[in-house]
């Protein structure tokens, strides 16, 4: 099994007619993803290489049965696009767009949570989700992933997600699903959300968690890892990062000492997570755990 997406997931691309949406929408289709529709109110009735374009997500859902959406619209248009998808009953909304203002992110997440509890938001500013060999929604290069494996990946960093997929695939270790949750201040889906999904998936027998400095998501993940039966291997980028400047004191009070790579690594290790010093070592640690399964 996989989490979030598989070969049956039908996806509508909001922004399919733009250059990025077109490139990645068609690339996802070439990978095997069921790319069933695009939306653009001014281009309804046309198609992009055979993918029909509808005026609204609602119309696309009615015509195609899409249950997931992938958003490539410019940042200012993201909140209305997310709410349109959620309002149309989309279960998984993946936002690739970066640069969504923080206050918009907070309002968008709160609105989806309150008004559309059955919709899951992934992102913004994330690479998307791939269940290798089954579905790829977003900007991950599908050829670096390998299916039918025991490893689930969840990552806050786009490029480090690709790095992890690549390393595991090179080592002959397959993946169930790889989720890029994005590093923005208000992620729709968190490490803990994904750890819970992986824990419940019988085919995911090892989880690889890739974090980076800032925020407290890794520390919160570490708290949940203690309740998991599935082993977790981690990597946290930014050990060498010099201390940054700080404006005011509120941030330090909120973080309460969390946030550095060291603090995150220590929290994860206390929870029993093997943490690699670099992405390659983390991949080797995953391969070792897989070999012992």
């Amino acid at each position: 099994m996989t989490i979030l997406v598989d070969e049956h997931t039908k996806v509508v691309y909001q922004g399919l007619t733009g250059s990025q949406g077109r490139f990645y929408g068609l690339r996802n289709r070439a990978y095997g993803t069921q790319v069933v529709a695009g939306t653009n109110p001014r281009k309804a009735g046309t198609d992009v290489e055979g993918v029909p374009v509808f005026a609204t997500v609602g119309e696309a859902v009615d015509a195609t049965g899409a249950t997931a959406s992938c958003i490539f619209v410019p940042a200012a248009g993201v909140p209305p696009a997310v709410l349109e998808a959620a309002g149309a009953g989309i279960e998984l909304v993946v936002v690739i767009t970066e640069g969504v203002p923080t206050h918009d992110q907070a309002r968008m997440f709160a609105t989806v949570t309150r008004d559309f509890p059955s919709t899951r938001l992934l992102g913004p500013n994330c690479p998307g989700v791939i269940s290798p060999g089954r579905a790829n929604i977003g900007i991950t290069a599908g050829e670096i992933a390998r299916g039918d494996g025991p490893v689930g990946i969840v990552s806050r960093s786009g490029t480090l997600t690709y790095q992890a997929l690549h390393e595991l695939t090179q080592a002959g270790v397959g993946q169930t699903t790889c989720v890029g949750i994005g590093g923005d201040p208000v992620p729709g889906t968190t490490f803990v959300d994904c750890l819970q999904l992986f824990e419940a998936d019988p085919d995911t027998r090892v989880v690889m968690l890739i974090g980076e400095i800032g925020g407290s998501a890794e520390e919160e993940a570490a708290e949940y890892v203690g309740q998991m039966s599935t082993p977790v291997v981690g990597y946290v980028a930014g050990v060498s990062a010099p201390p940054g400047r700080r404006m005011g004191h509120a941030g330090a009070i909120v973080s309460g000492g969390r946030g550095t790579a060291r603090a995150k690594i220590e929290a994860l290790e206390r929870a029993g997570v093997a943490v690699g010093r670099d992405p390659s070592e983390a991949a080797r640690l995953v391969a070792e755990v897989v070999a012992r399964l």
Binding site: R156, G248, G251, D278
Partner: protein, 431 residues
């Protein structure tokens, strides 16, 4: 305990923060900006003594450093200006002062609004214990700091605000209504102004019964710049010249002290690249994220920026293509080599989207000056060796892997952080 991340967020100087808050109706002291002693005296005469002359630097500890002085006449004003202007406070040179009419302080409090990422909601912090080290208060007397999570949709209601004020022990003070009005204005400034932080410490009650924001720390969210007119703020985000140059080219750059220039895509990979260079015994000269979907000209610009750093003895280009395409990266490298004299050897590690096309382009130009390596660690090792072989600059950290100099110990290049336009505490959005 603060960490770095790279962002283009806009940290305002105190005087800008006060102007920003005042534009939302928040009461702030009347004052003027001045850049030389004559202007300071003129402002003081105009405002009426006593006035406070305050150094404008985006770093704490101004008072202890002697950067804030109360003056009673023109002679004192001139002396204060001469002492403060040009002063270095934690490495920040004072270019301007803010001259404001002195307030008749009866009590000092603390208030801030910021995002609590863990809660995915806004957090208001209010304390009667202002004007002191509020972080110490938070640790030693947590009850003295009233925390209020605020729903991003519902906002801050006046009923909630009253409870919050009471929880901070300020419910019985005069002038509670003025305080509640100010908190509402501050909240509006935080939301409608697209701030990631507004912090007022101290928030003072005057002997005359007024509530005034006596200081202002404001960080604006650069992602929201498209819906605001922040040109005046952006113009004063002075920093390291190379950082400004990089920013103008759309690159996220932070100068460090090492010898291996870094060009990577994605903040996570760029940080990881710096870590790996450190692990194999080298030191990174910079953090540089070319961003997602970077085209050839962006890569060329990145190489030019890194090459312009005289400490750089080798350049490590570490690209994993998602939205960035391999052939664009390769074309950018080739273009840069043709356009400018890249003095340092370049080691490239390229994977991901269209990596094969990119590698084919690079293979046609492979030389001692341009080498490809299949993995991140191998590429880091080669770059560190090349940097060491250059034998220059002598005595620089990372000369030889055996020295094991670690970039964790490296300070910020070109002055302390804070002056840089592109870096900030990465608590992501934490200030």
């Amino acid at each position: 305990m603060l960490t770095l991340v790279v962002s283009t967020d806009v940290d305002l100087y105190e005087y800008q923060g006060k102007q920003f808050l005042a534009s939302f109706g928040v009461p702030t002291p009347v004052g003027e900006v001045a850049a030389d002693p004559l202007e300071v005296v003129a402002a003081a005469e105009h405002l009426g003594y006593p006035v406070v002359v305050k150094a404008q630097v985006r770093v704490g500890g101004r008072g202890k450093a002697g950067g804030i002085r109360v003056v009673a006449d023109a002679e004192q004003a001139r002396a204060a200006a001469e002492a403060i202007l040009g002063m270095e406070i934690s490495g920040h040179r004072v270019e301007r002062v803010w001259v404001e009419r002195a307030s008749d302080i009866a009590a000092e409090h603390y208030v801030s609004f910021t995002l609590d990422r863990g809660a995915r909601a806004h957090l208001g912090l209010l304390s009667a214990r202002g004007g002191v080290d509020i972080e110490t208060v938070a640790v030693e007397e947590p009850d003295a700091l009233a925390r209020l999570h605020i729903d991003p949709i519902e906002g801050l209601s006046s009923a909630q605000c009253r409870q919050w004020v009471a929880a901070a022990g300020l419910g019985d003070v005069v002038p509670v209504d003025a305080l509640i009005e100010l908190l509402g204005q501050l909240w509006t400034a935080y939301c409608e102004g697209d701030a990631e932080l507004v912090e007022v410490n101290p928030l003072v009650f005057t002997a005359g019964g007024e509530v005034v924001a006596l200081d202002a720390k404001v960080t604006l969210d650069d992602s929201a710049a498209f819906r605001h007119d922040w040109a005046a703020y952006a113009a004063t985000q002075a920093g390291d010249e190379r950082e400004q140059d990089a920013r103008a080219r759309g690159l996220q750059y932070v100068g460090l002290d090492g010898t291996v220039g870094i060009v990577a895509n994605g903040a996570g990979l760029a940080m990881s690249t710096i870590d790996v260079v450190g692990q194999v015994g080298g030191t990174a000269a910079n953090f540089l994220d070319i961003g997602g979907g970077a085209k050839a000209e962006v890569m060329a610009a990145a190489l030019e920026v890194v090459n312009a750093d005289p400490k750089v003895a080798a350049i490590f280009v570490n690209i994993f293509g998602g939205i960035t395409r391999g052939e664009e990266v390769a074309n950018g490298i080739v273009e840069a080599l043709g356009r400018v004299d890249i003095t340092s050897p370049i080691v490239v590690r390229l994977d991901g989207t269209n990596a094969a096309e990119g590698r084919a382009i690079l293979a046609a130009h492979e030389s001692e000056r341009l080498q490809s390596r299949p993995t991140m660690v191998e590429a880091a090792r080669t770059a560190v060796q090349l940097a060491a072989q250059s034998g220059w600059p002598s005595g620089a950290p990372g000369m030889a892997p055996a020295e094991g100099a670690h970039p964790a110990n490296a300070g910020w290049e070109g002055g302390p952080p804070g002056t840089g336009p592109v870096e900030r505490a990465v608590d992501g959005r934490d200030p």
